[in-house]
C-alpha cells in the first residue's frame, strides 16, 4: 500500500479493511454493457471511462474484489461523481449505482483523516448557527469581501420574512440552506399550497436538515442522527411536502437507510410538493392574464427525475399557468449536485455549459427548477431561474 500522504487516507486502516463494504450482489449486477455512459454528465463532458458509471463500478471491483490500492486515481473517479443517479433509470438491469457509491463514500470517509465536510456539515443541523453564519456572510458579501461567484454562492438575503403556520393539514419541510438563503421560495410555496385549501404546519428547529449532503459525502452517522431528529420533529400522519428535490429524495429513502418500521412509515408520508399539488389541480386558483406569454423551460433536478422519478407533476402544475418548452438533453444533470459545484468547480462548470446550450436552444425566457442547488448553480451562470412554484405564485390571480 503506497497511498500518498497528501490523500489524507489512513493506509494502515486501509490494509486492515481491504473491501469497500459494497454489497457483493449489487457489485456483481453490472454486465458492463455501457448503456449508462451517455446519461452520465461527467462521461459526457470528459469522454473518459473512469468518469463513467461503468468505469466507476469497474474501479470499485478492482479495489473490493481484486485488492487494488485506493489511490489518487480511484479517489478522482469516485469524487468526480455528481451522484445525480442519471445512470439508474438508464440501466436495463436496474444496477443500484447510488447505493454502491454511498457505500464507497462511507468507506472513504472512514479512511480520510481530514475532511472539512465532517465539520462543515455539522453546522447544517443547527438552525440558529446556520442563520447566524448566513447573516454574517450576507454582510460580508455586501462589503464585497468574498468572491461569491467563484465560490458558487447566491446573494444571501440580509433580512428574511418570517413564516407562520396556518394549520396542520400538511407539513412543509423547510430544510437548512434553503431556509437560510431562499426562504422567500418557501413563502411562495406556502401561498400556493394554502390556495389549494390546505393549512400548512411548519417544523420545529429539530428538523433543521435532512442529511442529504452528509450522506453523499459518506458521513453516514451524521446523516442518520439528522434523520432521527427530523422524523421526531415531523410527527403525526399529515403528508410531508418538500420543495427541494434533493431533500425530498433523501426523506423518501429514510426507510431504506435506517431500516426501521418508523422510518419506512415516515418515508411513505413524504411527497414532492408538486406531486401533492398535481393531485389537487382542481382546487388551484385560476391564472391571471399576465403570465401566459412567458416561455418557461423546466430543468428537472436529478433527484426529482432519476431518484424520486416524480418530475412529471412539475410540468403538470406549471402548464396551467405558463407556456412551456422542453429541454432536449434528456434530463442530463446541470452539475450542481449539492456541494459538488463547490468541490469540483471545473467539472461542474463544464457540465453546466452543456445545460446552458440546451437552454439557449429551447428559446425559454425563464428556467424553472425545483431544487435550490440547481437554481444557485444556474443563476451563477446568468440564467433567470426560479422555483416552479415562485412562477406559479406570481401567475396566480389571488384576488380573482
Amino acid at each position: 500500500m503506497t497511498a500518498k500522504k497528501s490523500l489524507g487516507i489512513d493506509t494502515e486502516e486501509m490494509a486492515s479493511r481491504p473491501a469497500l463494504g459494497i454489497d457483493t450482489e449489487e457489485l456483481a449486477s453490472c454486465v458492463s454493457c455501457g448503456l449508462c455512459l451517455p446519461h452520465c454528465p461527467t462521461f459526457r463532458v470528459t469522454g473518459e471511462e473512469w468518469a463513467s458509471p461503468r468505469g466507476r463500478i469497474s474501479a470499485m471491483r478492482q479495489v473490493q474484489d481484486h485488492g487494488m490500492a485506493v489511490d489518487e486515481s480511484f479517489l478522482a473517479s469516485m469524487d468526480s461523481c455528481v451522484q445525480c443517479r442519471g445512470c439508474e433509470p438508464a440501466c436495463p438491469s436496474g444496477v443500484p449505482f447510488g447505493s454502491m457509491m454511498e457505500a464507497t463514500q462511507a468507506e472513504l470517509a472512514r479512511r480520510r483523516r481530514v475532511d472539512w465536510r465532517r465539520w462543515g456539515f455539522r453546522v447544517l443541523g443547527h438552525r440558529w448557527l446556520l442563520s447566524l453564519l448566513s447573516r454574517s456572510l450576507a454582510v460580508v458579501q455586501r462589503l464585497r469581501l468574498v468572491p461569491s461567484k467563484r465560490l458558487g454562492l447566491p446573494k444571501i438575503p440580509l433580512v428574511q420574512e418570517r413564516l407562520r403556520a396556518t394549520g396542520n393539514d400538511v407539513w412543509l419541510f423547510t430544510g437548512c440552506v434553503m431556509d437560510a438563503w431562499q426562504r422567500s421560495t418557501h413563502a411562495s410555496v406556502k401561498r400556493v399550497v394554502e390556495s389549494a385549501g390546505a393549512g400548512v404546519a411548519l417544523p420545529s428547529p429539530g428538523a433543521a436538515c435532512c442529511g442529504a449532503l452528509s450522506l453523499h459525502a459518506g458521513l453516514e452517522d451524521h446523516a442518520h442522527a439528522l434523520a432521527a431528529r427530523t422524523m421526531k420533529a415531523l410527527e403525526g400522519s399529515a403528508p410531508i411536502l418538500v420543495d427541494s428535490a434533493g431533500c425530498g429524495a433523501v426523506l423518501k429513502e429514510y426507510g431504506k437507510h435506517l431500516g426501521t418500521p418508523e422510518a419506512v412509515a415516515f418515508s411513505e408520508r413524504v411527497m414532492d410538493v408538486h406531486e401533492w399539488l398535481a393531485a389537487q389541480a382542481d382546487q388551484l386558483p385560476s391564472v391571471g392574464e399576465r403570465r401566459r406569454d412567458v416561455i418557461v423551460a423546466v430543468h428537472d433536478p436529478c433527484h426529482l427525475r432519476h431518484v424520486q422519478r416524480a418530475h412529471q407533476p412539475v410540468a403538470d402544475v406549471l402548464s396551467s399557468y405558463v407556456t412551456m418548452v422542453t429541454l432536449d438533453d434528456e434530463g442530463l444533470c446541470c452539475g450542481a449536485g449539492g456541494a459538488y459545484a463547490a468541490m469540483q468547480p471545473e467539472l461542474a462548470a463544464s457540465i453546466r455549459d452543456r445545460k446552458l446550450e440546451a437552454i439557449n436552444r429551447s428559446g425559454a425566457d425563464i428556467v424553472a427548477s425545483a431544487n435550490p442547488g440547481c437554481t444557485i448553480h444556474l443563476a451563477n451562470a446568468g440564467v433567470d431561474v426560479r422555483h416552479p412554484l415562485e412562477i406559479v405564485d406570481e401567475a396566480i390571480d389571488y384576488d380573482g
Binding site: 456483481a28 449486477s29 453490472c30 454486465v31 458492463s32 454493457c33 455501457g34 448503456l35 455512459l37 451517455p38 469522454g47 473518459e48 471511462e49 473512469w50 461503468r54 468505469g55 469497474s58 474501479a59 478492482q62 487494488m68 489511490d71 489518487e72 486515481s73 480511484f74 473517479s77 440501466c91 436495463p92 438491469s93 436496474g94 444496477v95
Partner: protein, 480 residues
C-alpha cells in the same frame, strides 16, 4: 509494467499530447482493459486521448518508434473483445474526437469524427429530415468509429444494408503514421475498393480519424407491429413468409419467452409475457404502400396463429424499440454475466437452429435467451451465467462452440455484426480454409506490414502459411 515519466515512450507521447491526455495510472489502465464483452484479462499501456488527426499520427509515430502496438477504442461497447488491449499496447481513445464536421443535406453526406455517438448523429440531423440508417442496439452510446471497425448492423439494416453501405469514405492513419483517405465522399473512386476492405477491419488496418457517411431521408410513414406467437416455430415461419411474400420490411426482430419478461420488467411497453416469442416488424415508406404492407404482414401472422398489436403513435413505437434495444443490458436481472453469440443462418433454417440451440443449452445445464435480427437470420443466443460459480466457464464455452458448429453446419457464418475480435478468432479455421486466411493476412500486411495495429485479433496467430494448424491460444486469463 510501470510507466515512469522518464520512460522514452512516455516522453515521446507527451511531446504529442498534453500530459493530462496521456494516462498511465494503474487503475485507468486496468479499467481500459475491457469492453462490453466477457474478456477481463486485457491491460492497456499508456491511454491516449487525441483530439485531431495530427495528434493520432503523433501517437502512432511514438508507438512505432518504440515498437509498441496500437489499439484504437471508441465507446467500448464491442461484444467480441475487439478493443481489449493485449500485452499493454498504446490505446488510442476516440471519445474526445466527437464532432460533426460538416453536413451536405443536398448530397446527403456528412463528415463526422470517429468518437461521435451513433444516435447523436441522427439527433443532429433531425432538423434536415435526415438520419444515419445503421442503428445498432447500443446506438445511444456506441461510436461511429467503432461502427466502421465492426461493420456494425442494427435492426433497420434489413432493408438498407449494414454500415459498409453507408460509409462513403474514411480518413485513416496508417501504422506508418501517414494519413490517407479511402473512398470518396462524392461518389465511387476508380480502382480497388480500399474503403470496402477497410470497413469491418476491426482496427487492424489503421485508425479512423474521420468518416464520410451517407444520410437517409426520414420515411414519410412508419408502421410498427408487435406480433405474438405461442411457438418459436410459428414466429420463425412468419418471418420467412413475410420475406417470401416479397415484402422487405425496414426491420424484423424476434425475442423469445425468456427475454420478454426481463425487457418488459424494464420498459413496461406491454410486451406479452406469456408468449413463446414476439416478432417486431416495422414497415416504412410512402403512406399507401406502408398501410398495405402492414395489413399483409398482420394477415400472414394471423394465418400462423399469431396475435397482432400495432403501435398507435411514435411514443408507443419508441417504447417497443427501447425494449428491444435494451435487451442485452437487462440480463443482469437474471444472471450477472452473459456470453452473447452472433451467428447467421439461412432464414429458412431459423426455427431448426433455434431448437438446436435450446437442446445444446439444456445439455450443458445453462439458461439461454434469444433476441435477434430475424429478418436476416442473424441469431443472438445469450448464454446466462454467474462467473462466480466454479466450473461454469467450461460449460459456457462448450455450449458456445456447439452453437457455432450447429450454425455453420446449416450453411451459416461466424458473425453477423459484432465482429470476430478475440472471441471468434480461434473459430476462423472452421469457416475459412488456409488459403482464405492467408489471403486475409496478406491484405492486412499490405496496410500494416509489422502487424502493429490491434494485434492478436480476428486472424488466428500465424494465419499465413501452414502455421494455421498450430493455433495460438488466447492469452491466459483473458477468458474472464
Amino acid at each position: 509494467m510501470k510507466f515512469r515519466k522518464a520512460d522514452p515512450l512516455m516522453r515521446d507521447l507527451r511531446r504529442v499530447l498534453p500530459s493530462d491526455r496521456v494516462r498511465v495510472a494503474p487503475l485507468e489502465r486496468s479499467i481500459m482493459g475491457r469492453d462490453a464483452s466477457i474478456f477481463e484479462g486485457g491491460r492497456a499501456g499508456p491511454v491516449c486521448f487525441p483530439i485531431s488527426t495530427e495528434e493520432v499520427q503523433g501517437c502512432v509515430d511514438a508507438a512505432r518508434r518504440h515498437g509498441r502496438a496500437v489499439v484504437p477504442r471508441g465507446a467500448g461497447t464491442g461484444l467480441a473483445g475487439g478493443a481489449v488491449p493485449l500485452e499493454e499496447p498504446v490505446v488510442v481513445v476516440a471519445t474526445k474526437m466527437n464532432r460533426l464536421l460538416s453536413v451536405d443535406a443536398d448530397q446527403r453526406v456528412a463528415w463526422v469524427q470517429p468518437g461521435m455517438i451513433n444516435l447523436d448523429l441522427s439527433r443532429a440531423l433531425a432538423p434536415y429530415g435526415l438520419h444515419y440508417a445503421p442503428d445498432p442496439s447500443s446506438q445511444q452510446v456506441c461510436s461511429l468509429g467503432g461502427n466502421v471497425g465492426t461493420n456494425a448492423g442494427g435492426p433497420h439494416c434489413l432493408a438498407l444494408g449494414v454500415t459498409s453501405a453507408h460509409v462513403l469514405a474514411a480518413e485513416v492513419v496508417l501504422m506508418s503514421g501517414e494519413s490517407v483517405v479511402l473512398g470518396d465522399a462524392d461518389g465511387w473512386t476508380p480502382g480497388l475498393d480500399l474503403r470496402g476492405a477497410y470497413v469491418g477491419s476491426e482496427g487492424m488496418l489503421g485508425i479512423t480519424t474521420a468518416i464520410a457517411v451517407r444520410l437517409t431521408r426520414n420515411p414519410p410513414a412508419v408502421e410498427t407491429l408487435l406480433l405474438a406467437f405461442d411457438s418459436v416455430d410459428a414466429a420463425a415461419q412468419t418471418v420467412s413468409a413475410v420475406i417470401a411474400d416479397g415484402i422487405v420490411p425496414a426491420a424484423i426482430e424476434m425475442m423469445d419467452k425468456n427475454i420478454i419478461w426481463a425487457v418488459e420488467n424494464f420498459v413496461g411497453a406491454g410486451f406479452p409475457t406469456d408468449a413463446a416469442a414476439v416478432v417486431i416488424v416495422e414497415v416504412d415508406g410512402l403512406p399507401g404502400g406502408v398501410a398495405a404492407e402492414a395489413d399483409r404482414v398482420a394477415e400472414l401472422a394471423v394465418e400462423r396463429g399469431g396475435s397482432v398489436r400495432r403501435a398507435t403513435d411514435d411514443e408507443e413505437r419508441a417504447l417497443i424499440w427501447k425494449g428491444r434495444k435494451s435487451a442485452f443490458g437487462a440480463i443482469a436481472q437474471i444472471k450477472p454475466n452473459y456470453y452473447l453469440h452472433d451467428t447467421v443462418v439461412p432464414r429458412t433454417r431459423l426455427a431448426e437452429v433455434m431448437n438446436q440451440v435450446y437442446e445444446i443449452v439444456d445439455e450443458h445445464d445453462l439458461q439461454v435467451m434469444n433476441v435477434f435480427h430475424a429478418g436476416d437470420g442473424n441469431l443472438h443466443p445469450l448464454l446466462l451465467y454467474d462467473a462466480r460459480e466454479p466450473g461454469i466457464m467450461e460449460r459456457v464455452h462448450a455450449a458456445g462452440s456447439a452453437i457455432i458448429e450447429a450454425s455453420l453446419a446449416v450453411g451459416g457464418v461466424l458473425s453477423g455484426e459484432h465482429g470476430i475480435g478475440i472471441e471468434k478468432r480461434d473459430f476462423m479455421p472452421l469457416m475459412f480454409s488456409e488459403a482464405d486466411l492467408d489471403a486475409q493476412a496478406r491484405l492486412r500486411r499490405a496496410f500494416d506490414p509489422e502487424e502493429m495495429a490491434n494485434p492478436g485479433k480476428v486472424l488466428p496467430t500465424g494465419a499465413s502459411c501452414a502455421e494455421v494448424n498450430a493455433l495460438g491460444k488466447v492469452p491466459e486469463g483473458v477468458w474472464g
